[in-house]
Amino acid sequence: MADLPSDLVVAGVAPAADEAAAAKVEGRWRSSLGVIVPAVMVAFIFGVCFIWPLIGPVPSPTGGTILDSNLPAFSPGHFLGTDAVGNDEWSRLLYGGRSSLEIALAVQAIGIVVGGLIGAIAGYMGGWRDSTIMRLLDVLIAFPGLVLAVAIAQGLGPSKLNTIWALCFFSVPATARIARAATLRVREQTFMVAARLSGTSFPRMLVGHIAPNILPQLLTYALLGMGIIMILEGALSFVGLGVPPPAPSWGNMIAQGQSTLSAQPRFVFLPSAALFITVVSFNLLGEGLRSRWSGQ
């Protein structure tokens, strides 16, 4: 946290100096804890989903035999039991998390690159180009996103890649708006004016001057958006699209579990709990980072 300029501190409102210093130290410690804890949680989730299947003895998430169907938890060889067609539930959770995380990462990466570029160009150029781009984004935002996603997924056929394309219609316009607002803030700063006066080319401005200044903000919002994208991926599974079964994703596991909710609620609750913990971790991390940025 930067020190407040002394002329901003109203007399009588500012706490005593040592009290303020103590509060600052505690605040810094607490705010870094607010970032470290969720960051460790996110790292742990990634580790479990991506590394465990490589090193641990995990059966295949698909192609189980019907003889092993609906085994309860803690059965020999199946730590969380098996699903209705005999696939190991723990393995499905790991591989399902893998594909949910992969989809969310890909969608947010495309959002940052494409949306960031669009927003930065609109914000930097201004004028009619800015208004045209923003009107086009308005169209995408006013368009019920789920309709577009459903239509795309239907037209291209349900698959993981097509799910990513469909979900990009959420991330790109949202990121572009944030990138534009951030670009507008840095555009008139002295170093930008200096760079412009010394004849820096537009691509170089974009990569060398705008990107480093708006990326922290975009990344923070991308983290907050990870949870939303993972939730939307599941929503697509509910309407029969998204990642096509038998390949697992948390979303399609929840959607499939819906039909056996009263008899076998764990098929809904296990992937739901995994999804919830992951989304909470991303939200806490994003929130922690954001309060750190806004505090500065």
Partner: protein, 345 residues
């Protein structure tokens, strides 16, 4: 004679003054400008959905006749439905219909799109209204309790709870609620819908679980937002200092002074949320078997029923655009410090 004309001309003059005041009002000019800007957006949205539906493989004729249909049968039905016309002609026909007030007829059932909207929209509106009611009715008291003692026990608990609530997928919440209240406790129906005409109590009972599924996320979002705004008002604003200096009790400052100002911000966010909310009703209506607009939309996409899709998308887009406009206008009316009409950047 002049005395008799005076009462006649006085209202005229008053009316002229009223008119020029209205025409010169920045708020009105702002509204008109935004409405004009909304036209290309609506145009773009409907055109985009036409393009998307047009580029999908298969069309309504094929979906209606099934896989066994001969090419000549499909050809005949396509001609009958007007699907053989060029793409732009079809869009132009549709657009012409909208301007003259006709949204066309469903390709699969022959029902007019207008009547489909009239029968399905109220169901979705009721669901959304209940969700808003639930979230706002709880968000205001919880946020007040939080702002009363920042970092107190109530504040921390509700901040933790709202972070958790924000991270729950609405469909997960729906399934958990169904499991607890319908399967285990058996106090509320799991699926279905009863029109309010056939018993208001049954209607509300069927709405509770879907409305809470949608509303919990909103509740958490609004609570956090309102709390942050209340704290900002309480810490920085002169009128709060004045009220305190007069000896107004802290609780009263919070509820009668700060809350009034913070609610303005909340109202605008509520309006802005409407678009996202409409998207999520699709999934919730699907889970609970509610015959609303989202349910109709999924079916129409399945049947490639372009007029129905176009009608629903058009209505959604109009709602989103109007809600955004209402949010901006409300904000400018409630907070006159905000001046529109000229971009600030």
């Amino acid at each position: 004679m002049s005395s008799s004309t005076a009462p006649l001309s006085a209202p005229l003059a008053a009316r002229a003054g009223w008119w020029s005041r209205l025409a010169g009002s920045p708020t009105l000019r702002f509204i008109v400008r935004r409405l004009l800007l909304a036209i290309p957006v609506l145009f773009g949205v409907t055109f985009l959905s036409f393009v998307v539906m047009n580029s999908l493989p298969g069309d309504a004729a094929q979906e209606l006749l099934g896989a066994q249909a001969t090419p000549s049968e499909i050809h005949q039905l396509r001609a009958q439905l007007g699907l053989d016309k060029p793409f732009l002609t079809r869009y132009w026909d549709w657009l012409h219909g909208v301007i003259t007030g006709h949204l066309g007829h469903s390709l699969s059932s022959g029902q007019s799109v207008g009547s489909i909207l009239v029968s399905d929209l109220p169901v979705t509106f009721e669901l959304v209204a209940f969700a808003f009611l639930f979230s706002l009715a709880l968000a205001v008291p919880v946020a007040l309790a939080c702002a009363r003692k920042p970092n107190g026990v109530a504040d921390r608990l509700s901040m933790m709870f709202s972070m958790a609530g924000l991270s729950v997928a609405p469909y997960v919440l729906a399934l958990v609620l169904v499991y607890v209240f319908a399967v285990k406790l058996n106090v509320l129906p799991a699926i279905g819908w009863v029109p309010p005409g056939q018993g208001l109590w049954q209607n509300i009972r069927h709405l509770i679980l879907p409305a809470v599924s949608i509303g919990l996320g909103l509740l958490c979002f609004y609570t956090r937002l309102l709390r942050a705004d209340l704290l900002e008002q309480m810490q920085g604003e002169d009128y709060v200092v004045t009220a305190r200096a007069k000896g107004v009790r802290p609780w009263r400052v919070l509820t009668h002074h700060a809350l009034r100002n913070s609610l303005f911000g909340l109202i605008t966010v509520v309006a802005l949320n409407l678009g996202t909310l409409l998207g999520f009703t699709v999934v919730i209506e699907d889970i609970f078997g509610i015959p609303g607009i989202g349910h109709e939309l999924l079916q129409a996409i399945d049947n490639r029923d372009v007029p129905v899709i176009e009608g629903i998308v058009f209505v959604f887009a109009v709602i989103v655009v109007l809600a955004n406009l209402a949010a901006d206008v409300l904000y400018s009316i409630l907070d006159p410090r905000i001046r529109y009409g000229r971009p600030t950047e």
